[in-house]
Symmetry: C2
């Protein structure tokens, strides 16, 4: 009985995710599938369109055995840090094999990881974005570009696997749709990318996505308001208006004078400006939209550098849901892991370990109207 | 040519205010009437129902010659501090006589002021509200109660007059309506209190207030959204959710452990709670609703103690509007006053002198959708 790990956002959970799980089950019918899932704020610096409990239920229904939440400190991060955090958690969860989608499943990700292991995080001296500098460094080491989002993430997982000595067997799965951002369908007519689905949802073409998502996702989409940056923009704007430069500077990911840009560019915008208007105004050659969107999450949730460091020093396993098979596996994890396994918010942990995630949940709840952590226990599906 | 001062909020400007101006003109047809008016946040800890420019226009149209803005640091304050700030400003504006409404215009406010001059601000040791303790101290000194809102304010003006050696001649005008909070009409059928008018407006009985306000106010009410705490509650809630105890503690008017109450009581509220629900939850014997509402403004606008002290040390005259007669008077004030006369926001003053008022305006603009300070110059009416 092997333990398979998947790193996911499920934003929202769609047929491509279902297909991935089917592939796992086909290869390992009795595997325990553990998913490390982003919570309510995601890798690319945006709120999840559906809350973490809704997405957990979807994943469990589709056959996942355990869902643990990636702490916000790990998941609202560039690919390499995101991967390090996720692999760290899956390692503690006893994962043996890591499945992930890739545009080029034929790549030898282990070899690529070994070759690029000397690439380290600080590209701040270049007059280009972090992502561009990173890709250039990869190109220099490998002799060819890795420039599609899933391949890049796969490489980041592989690098984290080596760096953390997690010893995962890597299983890249060929992505069966054209690209991350297209609605072009290949082979299977009922698969589209998450971003394509979100695009349709934003355009309120809800019925159009029915083909591409499982029934449970479609029901949630029909019933719940879909959350986006638009819901948080008034709060972010207010936060920037009332924050001193000094305060913005103390937040995670600010630096290099970005605090001035953040405030100044807002001041020039009209009162009816949107989140995207602000992002465009702050954008420069140096910063990608994604970097700035992550910064926006840090401002919105008031993430300090100290808090991120604290989670890095003292990571934890936050359980969101499990199946019967998952429960058996969790009993083992409880004994083997040196990280605390957290099943609910308590008076103590909301002021210490979970402080940041708890606050993020409270902010998210301002848009959904549904509390995210208080009075929640992990979902169980048998 | 005398200079008459009035301290006002004009929330909104109504026939009672008009009547007060008529009384002044009747007694002093050629007087220059200078009004020190609260800006967008008011004495009782609430946003103004119409913005400061709209209210300034109403006042000028009704015959006021100069409107200067009471800095937020002076006006979102208990009566005695509010009065001190306002009298300080009117003194610099060359005011000679102070007109104010009173439930008992027959009182000798000068004498009352002299008798109660030894009453000073700190009542924090009593297990009762500041206001109650203050009234009790007044009762002890005078031998009778002063417990109606306008008499209390009048006494506060009189005390400030003595303390600041402003030498204003005090002119109390008998209020011609029953009480501050009633819609009961006496003598003149077209006068109602501001709070009664706001109550009707909140109940969306807009047409019902037509009788009680000048045409210009009625037009503004019909055209502009009426602002209340409801508009800022999502922002306040968000601010409390994301602020650390330490940060709340650094704000003006917090202390005595109030920061814990502010956060804890919010946590217990449902997601659909209103501003009033929160206020009720935080309320205790020790704190009046008004005190807590002022605290809410401090949290919303992020008013620090240091900022309030700064304004107290370096006051200024912020001009909102003037008539031709007002302009002549302003030329004198410019020469005689040692306070800066500010006519617009500049790169410099928005980071120094006007920092707090500018921020308050930006927060207010999040509800109105209309910038409050940038690109505004004083209104002129001839």
């Amino acid at each position: 009985m092997t333990v398979v790990g998947i790193i996911a956002e499920y934003n929202p959970f769609h047929n491509g995710h279902l297909y991935q799980l089917e592939q796992v089950r086909e290869q390992f019918p009795t595997a325990t599938i553990v998913v490390a899932m982003s919570g309510n704020f995601l890798e690319r610096g945006e709120p999840a369109c559906l809350d973490k409990w809704t997405r957990t239920r979807q994943a469990l229904t589709a056959g996942v055995d355990v869902v643990v939440e990636l702490p916000l400190a790990f998941c609202v991060q560039p690919a390499d840090r995101f991967a390090l955090g996720a692999v760290k958690i899956l390692k503690e969860m006893g994962v043996e094999q890591l499945f992930f989608g890739a545009e080029h499943a034929e790549y030898d990700f282990n070899l690529m990881a070994e070759k690029t292991l000397n690439i380290h995080g600080d590209f701040s001296k270049y007059n280009e974005s972090y992502a561009a500098a990173y890709q250039r460094a990869v190109y220099t080491q490998l002799g060819y570009s890795v420039d599609t989002p899933n391949d890049l993430l796969g490489l980041a997982y592989a690098r984290a696997n080596v760096r953390l000595n997690a010893r995962f067997r890597l299983v890249p799965l060929q992505r069966i749709i054209a690209g991350h951002h297209d609605l072009i369908l290949q082979k299977k007519q009922n698969i589209a990318s998450a971003s394509a689905i979100r695009k349709q949802l934003q355009a309120r073409k809800i019925k159009d996505v029915k083909t591409y998502v499982p029934e449970i996702t479609y029901k949630a989409i029909m019933k719940q308001p879909l959350i986006s940056w638009n819901d948080f923009w008034p709060l972010l704007r207010y936060q920037i208006e009332t924050s001193s430069l000094q305060k913005i500077r103390s937040l995670y990911g600010v630096g290099e004078g970005l605090e001035y840009r953040v405030k100044q560019q807002l001041e020039g915008l009209p009162e009816d400006a949107t989140f995207d208007d602000w992002l465009k105004a702050v954008k420069s050659k140096r910063y990608t939209y994604t970097r700035l969107a992550r910064l926006a999450v840090a401002i919105l949730v008031q993430v300090t550098s100290g808090e991120v460091e604290e989670v890095e020093k003292n990571p934890y396993l936050r359980l969101l849901g499990f199946s019967f098979r998952g429960q058996c596996h969790l009993n083992k994890v409880k004994k083997s892991s040196c990280y605390p396994l957290i099943t609910k918010i308590t008076k103590d942990n909301k002021k210490s370990t979970l402080q940041l995630d708890y606050r993020a949940g409270n902010v998210y709840a301002l848009a959904t109207g549904v509390k995210q952590d208080l009075r929640h226990i992990p979902l169980r599906i048998h």
